[in-house]
Point group: D2
Chain length 354, copies 4
């Protein structure tokens, strides 16, 4: 359990950070899609370590090797198996945590749940598994074609993006290492991240995401509402602590008369507090949501914790970690959103009589 995402457009992944390789199987991608392999690798490059000065300086090639499901450049309808080798498996880096539990990591709970754990680099709980999500998401995006998905960093610590959604220029997202589409705000965020890193500390942030050109009718009533699945998708990403869509937590303080989105004659709405989803089903307006990330738990500072026997120990923080996770998490948020939309697009093919 827990390694598959999706009902029809389904990604199953495997892999620990310090094994031979990680990989996955993408099922349900319809046959006949011309697959752009470079576009997949491009998304991998956005996620990979070492891409800029404000992320971890580990090096991983993150080269995706596709084993099946593609023939003469097109998907065949059979499962797409893929592998990403772990080229940077310095297991010795982790000797210091073999017998101790890092605070706010999964070390302790894995040991309790499974009786023992692969302690190298967090094993399965490492954010390395998100590389496979990016592969699946990159294929999902190609399947979705007209639907556009743009995630960006809207907050780092207390530094927030103040520009309204409809004034954002998405073409600017990749213009800076923070992936915030507003240059002055990005500069402040970058400065904060560098400062925090110098302290051996880390900081949290928010990623916002906007999905456009979604057809009306995606989403399943009751338990599998479109936004519920998007929420689960985001909450399944390492370090995520919250999800809100449309008016979100802000909507709590509004009255119904101001929150309700009035219809235009063509079925669009004058406002979009609903966030593109009504009753769990897309209404054709932009879907937008925010995802809260906690500060990375791995510090360069030394810290006190316990070992397996419950003895207090002091551990010297080391390794090469991200001072702030959000810049590299942007493509992961997009990937998960793409997987949800691809899945719900297929589900929607079965709603009506032929």
């Amino acid at each position: 359990m827990g390694n598959t995402f999706g009902k029809l457009f389904k990604l199953t992944t495997y892999g620990e950070s310090h094994g031979i390789a990680i990989g996955g199987i993408l099922e349900g991608c319809p046959a006949g899609l011309e697959l752009d392999l470079d576009a997949i690798q491009e998304q991998m490059a956005r996620r990979k370590p070492g891409q800029s000065a404000i992320v971890t300086q580990r090096k991983e090639a993150d080269q995706v090797i596709i084993h099946s499901g593609v023939f003469e450049g097109r998907t065949t309808g059979t499962p797409i198996g893929f592998v990403i080798e772990n080229t940077n498996q310095k297991s010795k880096d982790y000797g210091h945590i073999k017998d101790s539990y890092r605070p706010s990591h999964a070390d302790y709970v894995y040991d309790q749940k499974y009786g023992f754990r692969d302690y190298r680099g967090g094993g399965r709980s490492s954010a390395r598994e998100t590389a496979c999500r990016v592969v699946g998401g990159a294929i999902a995006r190609q399947f979705l074609k007209d639907i556009s998905i743009h995630a960006f960093v809207s907050q780092v610590g207390t530094v927030g993006l103040e520009i309204p959604l409809n004034e954002i220029d998405y073409s600017r997202i990749e213009s800076n290492p923070v992936r915030c589409p507003d240059a002055p705000t990005a500069a402040k965020m970058e400065e904060l991240i560098k400062k925090v890193r110098k302290e051996g500390d880390t900081i949290g942030g928010v990623i916002s995401c906007v999905i456009r050109n979604v057809p009306v009718g995606l989403g399943e009533p009751v338990f599998d509402k479109l936004h519920a699945e998007l929420g689960k998708a985001m909450l399944s990403i390492n370090a995520v602590k919250g999800f809100e869509y449309g008016s979100g937590f802000r909507g709590v303080t509004m009255k119904g008369s101001e929150h309700n989105d009035r219809y235009n004659p063509d079925g669009t709405t004058q406002t979009n507090n609903s966030g593109g989803v009504q009753g769990g089903i897309s209404n054709g307006m932009d879907i937008y949501f925010n995802v809260a990330f906690k500060p990375v738990a791995t510090l360069i500072q030394s810290y006190e914790t316990i070992d397996k026997e419950g003895n207090e120990v002091e551990v010297q923080g080391k390794g090469r970690h991200d001072p702030c996770v959000v810049p590299r998490a942007v493509p992961i948020v997009e990937a998960m959103a793409a997987l949800v939309l691809a899945d719900y697009t297929l589900l929607a093919r079965t709603n009506k009589m032929g």
Copy 2:
């Protein structure tokens, strides 16, 4: 799709607000549980319309009739089928919305998705379906035994509960119609709700939930993290716009050094920013989360909208609706939390060699 919740402890529901009955099937409840039927009905009473002056004055008996899966007072391990009759089906109440789309309701998207809809009272999109969730959750609670689940209203509009979690007296939750455990705050909330109702308007709110005595080890790595499933469970409830657990959106502004929860020698932690879940797996500390509800979309005011042909029409709001959904949503939040925990308790039985 969309009518089943859970993987092993599974609830499947059916029913429209104005059909003969709604109902469900609960699968996977282990055999041999002595079932307290009164305790189920008690939870139904907390959810049902007409229970206080600040909720809708509709009357529904909400009597649960169990058809199967229970013999001589105990569960048999076979599916528990149950039915709740709709005793208050005034279809005529809804003639006024037959051909028009209420703003921020699911009317429009159902018509688009399915080609037509059961327009009576929102049909399947009505919050009436949550009655079945409460049945399933009430049984889940009995299965969970030692795990306690307490939800309460922590905000209505801008009126928020200021007491820290660990000072809350859960025995006070049911002492007022708002279900806020602090009497003075509850009074302010009640006043606000009454004021809003008088205006023919509605207001949003927040429900907080605390889960105690959770064993270490519930939760599946990667896609089915415990908090991700809780998030989906909550986001699937009508009118929910956001979910955060542990430090939530507040954690964004924290540094890793202050956010990390230090271990005590016994594996408990000194702080609980993690919210009882690390790497998607319960760590034995209290699980807590917040759920944001938008203001109810159904107003008593008249409003402008469109009909099926896209003509603008004015509709006279009527019916008997909740001015604020959160007081009645408290047992629903608890029910969904119970369903998640029951399901993950069963899943955890399969983790290790015998």
Copy 3:
């Protein structure tokens, strides 16, 4: 687990033979299907006890009450909840088996698996649950429209139908109580059943099924091959011991050169040893298969067995049981076939790019 059949067109059932009612939820039936309720009840009549002199003389009204998912005569795309009351619950009939285990029944294994059981009439293991399958199947057939499904009795004990498949007149199936389309063979079968009943004994049989007008392309490669799902569907029916399709067990003795079905220029084949399925996917030819039923285990004779403590006891057989299960199982075989085909029809909607 075990109470749901299908992936997209999904039937979940509940109910014991001697509870208040049995019922089910059919999910995934596309919206907009005009539902013929009489056609459902007609299928129920073919399955119900007491319909002829050679089946059990119990009386059950088997009236299907639909609670949801249908509005103004058409399916709405939401789950179809239905209930069938148990009008003939003579629990006292079963006092004699409360503490003993009937040979070749599920009494013993239920007690072992669940710790105790609802002993009245076999509880969940009673063939009464098949009534819900017939409801689901009857709706599936209406969805399938052009696909025709004909099951019939082809063997009772050693009395077999000798007519080749393509010479069978399906309109004759209902012309006799055995449901064998050849009158002289049916007469012999009926005679045999009556003789066996007089002895207080029972006899086995074979049901054959032919499915016509299946479009090419239904079936999922590898684990969910169309015939594998049909096989599981049939093997899940009480008393079934075997399943074969196309050439079946007879094909074992054939050589490849005689077994291979040569193509006609239009893609049809000159022979049909494949049974309409190649590589798990329908090829447009008739699908046909045989289902073996053991003799009913419930006898009117007295028999020796053990009680819960392992003591040997003699039990006086009584009750009103079928001397041969196959005549009443014909509509069940058809229902399960219809459910499989409806499910795979929906799955096939997702194979290709738009």
Copy 4:
């Protein structure tokens, strides 16, 4: 759909016969199992081509490379990803079938279903995918420990094994290339296979399987009966046309009084017509079943067929194929049986209150 087998102990596979590699992900194997990698490779050797004079002379190393889920020799509870390289991909061998449809193969239906196909060696429909089943099954067997699973060839063409089940010496199965435990019968079968091969033809066969030491209580009522899942597992293997368990098709001619298995005081039965399963749940007696395989469709003879445009063409059969599939299918039958039992063993952990 179609690439995953199992509910909790779950195998998902990918791969075409002539791609870079095939592989799979095994989920749900409990943590702490000491994994014997040689034992996995041993099962692979039993399935692989070129192992004897009576099977295809293709060469495949079939070396399993495990990427994840195993640490310091034990399973970690996380998914086991594995890969088997295709070392023998002579794509040019298949130019002759690129544009034509081989009779009784999946070529035609894949083209119809997906719009095009990977024509090299049958692509996904190749029996090569069964290598991944053997990996999963080999791990399942190690998990099952005390449960023994023995499959063997009981019939080739009209040459059948006449020894009763309880007199079979399972240690003799591997003593001849046919995998028939009786030497004289094996010799006759081998002779027949060689004769058929010399004719450029193929022949069908039956594999029987006996499972011992199964605890009472495995199996889920109604749709997921243990034998129904075993049946589906077997029917999903390429070339299988039929499945029967216990008395099977032979049981049809028996009377209830002779078919019923009388209990001994300890809950075992004096006969075992039930085949170890009652009401879909294991009763502790030996489970046994037969699986019918058709003759391999690929012939060395030339044959007439159609091309994509429906023109009749003559194709010269070539390639290196099995004259009879059953000797190499023995480990596949065992693997699928092991996967079912492992899955149902985990499911049975959730039946009762703790």
